[in-house]
């Protein structure tokens, strides 16, 4: 472990000594970092640095080889994906991951946090509370005119928004976004930044992003990852002027 002793205060998310190796290759290597409540943390770093893998580990998609991930007193490394979601962690994937064969309404409805057991799903009622919440979120993600279209017919940017909406309706305490503006047009980026600025209130957010303008706009703190390890961490100002960061990431 790189940290000596336990951190003095209670963090929302405490990642310690996290390691995963794929056939001997350590994609994440003895990584430790802490995220505060209501903090917006951005992870940056070159391609292949292990950013996506960190999110995979937190949300249970990938099992760690060593280390711990504590979220609100719960050890996430021992929990299943759906249990981690119920604990309050939501995750957006790098490429839009939505249900093409369902409508926008149905995509959002499935993410509504009720009726998640087999019996609950079978007896789920589409009541006023559900409809109102779906309408509210659809409005926020600029898709209120597309509620009854199949998600397959949305543009790439709209699909990204839909997935963000699916997380929003889930109302997680920790929201993890993997390159939310990648592949978007300039105008879509502006709208997305606006959207993220409204949805990050009252929760902690872990964002992976390459767009430095976007990062400067939202980040409280930045973690720079390189070869599965932390290269630098701190305020945007500090990280930007760190020669190591300039060399491996910002320089080119």
């Amino acid at each position: 472990m790189t940290t000596i002793g336990t951190p003095p205060k209670e963090y929302l998310l405490a990642v310690e000594g996290l390691t995963v190796s794929f056939d001997g290759f350590k994609a994440v290597n003895d990584l430790s970092f802490y995220v505060d409540e209501n903090e917006i943390r951005v992870i940056i770093g070159p391609n292949g640095a292990g950013k996506t893998t960190v999110l995979d580990l937190i949300c249970g998609k990938t099992k760690s080889s060593a280390g711990s991930i504590r979220f609100r007193e719960k050890e996430l490394t021992k929990m299943s994906e759906s249990q981690i979601v119920l604990a309050g962690v939501g995750r957006k994937f790098q490429t839009p991951s939505i249900y093409d064969d369902l409508t926008v309404f149905e995509n959002l409805e499935i993410s509504y946090p009720r009726g998640r057991s087999v019996l609950g799903a079978l007896t789920f009622k589409r009541d006023a509370a559900v409809r109102e919440r779906v309408a509210e979120v659809a409005e926020a993600i600029f898709l209120k005119d597309r509620l009854h279209d199949n998600a397959a017919f949305l543009s790439h940017g709209q699909k990204q928004w839909l997935e963000i909406g699916m997380l929003l309706i889930q109302d997680p305490e920790l929201l993890m976004l993997d390159e939310p503006v990648a592949g978007m047009s300039v105008s879509e980026r502006i709208k997305t930044a606006e959207l993220l600025n409204t949805i990050i209130k009252n929760r902690s957010v872990l964002v992976i992003e390459h767009d430095m303008k976007f990062v400067e706009d939202i980040a409280h703190k930045v973690t720079v990852l390189h070869q599965g390890k932390i290269l630098s961490e701190g305020s945007m100002e500090k990280v930007k002027n760190d020669p190591k960061v300039v060399e491996v990431y910002l320089g080119h």
Binding site: C59, K61, S80, E81, S82, V85, L86, G90, R91, F93, S97, I98, Y99, D100, D101, L102, T103, F105, E106, E109, I110, S111, P113, G115, R116, S117, V118, A121, L122, T123, F124, R126, R131, A135, L147, H148, N150, M166, Q170
Partner: protein, 384 residues
């Protein structure tokens, strides 16, 4: 593409009503007793096909072992009927009277313990539901919790079908072997071999199938139905929306299994025997083909697909028995390559538009198609 999510909307109601009329009025009016009994047999396969629509069509879980479930229901019913036919009175010439004749031929002198519950009709009916559900649960848990899916799952279920056949044939003292369980006579004292009994059983079967169709539609239109579609599309996303994907897969696999078992039990009642020829790999694959021909996403399509393929099979194999398997294979390839949505897709793309147009010509206020679409969307919209 879009379906109003409410259970049994007007369109569904009309379609199910039409099927009910065909099954309950048209067939009995047009067909003689022999043909009607054949239709009854086909309809017992439709129970399996409807289950496959939920499991495979919606959920993306292809099972090539539905014959096993069909057998669990079919043999359950056959065991009850056989015990009733094997009263001490009826079997007094055997060396051990009171047990099924095939056991006696195999030098078995005592009814095996697992046959005992099938003395009771209520218990038999319960077991026809419970055993396949339990079997589906055990297999489903073993597979889906380990994330076995797709082709691997299909192959394993196919192996189960093969094992089941081998077991049934090998244990002939307990199961009647390759001949199956035959010479069935009465159900709780009611002779099922008479023409009038067959006529009544046809209706029982048809009505039961309509109930299963209704229930399947309820499942499809519930949120669970949409989760199945979501799972087929993006299993991981469903997981990360907080659902235990394995539990949903186990549920739909069990449900399809129970449907198949009810079909199997009705087969035994309508046809009068149960044998391993309905259990193995070939019948299991045939059931998948019925579903594919009907359109694997369409519950009603599954019923029509089953009827169509079986009518074709009967008429073809009466004249060219050796050609049937080739024809079946060709049909499957044609459906997959040319009509992936089967009969239901052909109906939707080629027939439904004409009906819609005809209806619109007759209606008094001529609206342009765009407005009409908008109106439909508004009607389907749950927000209005």
């Amino acid at each position: 593409m879009k379906r109003a999510p409410s259970f049994m909307d007007l369109k569904d109601l009309i379609a199910v009503g039409l099927l009910a009329i065909i099954l309950i009025v048209v067939f009995p009016a047009l067909l003689d007793g022999f043909r009607l009994n054949l239709v009854a047999k086909y309809l017992t396969y439709a129970f399996v096909a409807v289950g496959l629509v939920l499991c495979w069509g919606l959920g993306g879980i292809l099972s090539l072992g539905q014959g096993v479930f069909f057998a669990l229901g079919g043999y359950g019913m056959a065991m009850y009927l056989k015990l009733e036919a094997s009263s001490v009175e009826n079997t007094k010439i055997q060396s051990t009277p009171g047990i099924p004749d095939f056991m006696d031929w195999n030098q078995i002198t005592e009814l095996p313990y697992f046959w005992q519950p099938f003395h009771s009709l209520p218990l038999t009916i319960l077991l026809i539901i419970l055993i396949p559900a339990l079997f589906g649960f055990v297999i489903g848990s073993a597979m889906f919790k380990r994330r076995v899916s797709g082709v691997y799952f299909a192959i394993i279920t196919q192996a189960l079908a093969a094992i089941a056949t081998i077991l049934i044939i090998g244990q002939q003292g307990y199961t009647g072997g390759v001949n199956g369980i035959t010479d069935l006579r009465t159900l709780h004292g009611w002779d099922i071999r008479t023409d009038s009994a067959k006529f009544i059983l046809y209706f029982v079967n048809a009505i039961l199938l309509l109930c299963i169709v209704g229930f399947a539609m309820y499942v499809r239109d519930s949120k669970l139905g949409r989760i199945l579609v979501a799972m087929r599309d993006k299993e991981d996303r469903v997981r990360f929306s907080g659902y235990s994907v394995a539990n949903f897969q186990i549920f739909v696999f069990c449900l399809a299994g129970v449907f198949a078992a009810i079909g199997g039990a009705m087969f035994t009642l309508n046809v009068g025997f149960m044998s391993p020829s309905l259990v193995g790999i070939v019948p299991s694959i045939e059931m998948v083909i019925f579903t594919a021909v009907g359109g694997r996403l369409s519950i009603l399509g599954a019923v029509y697909g089953t009827l169509a393929v079986n009518f074709a099979k009967t008429s073809l194999s009466e004249s060219f028995p050796e050609l049937w398997l080739l024809g079946l294979g060709g049909l499957f390839i044609a459906v997959v390559l040319v009509f992936p949505n089967g009969l239901a897709g052909i109906w939707r793309d080629y027939v439904q538009p004409h009906i819609d147009r005809a209806l619109k010509l007759n209606s008094k206020d001529p609206t342009d198609p765009a407005a009409n679409v908008a109106k439909q969307a508004a009607a389907a919209s749950p927000a209005e």
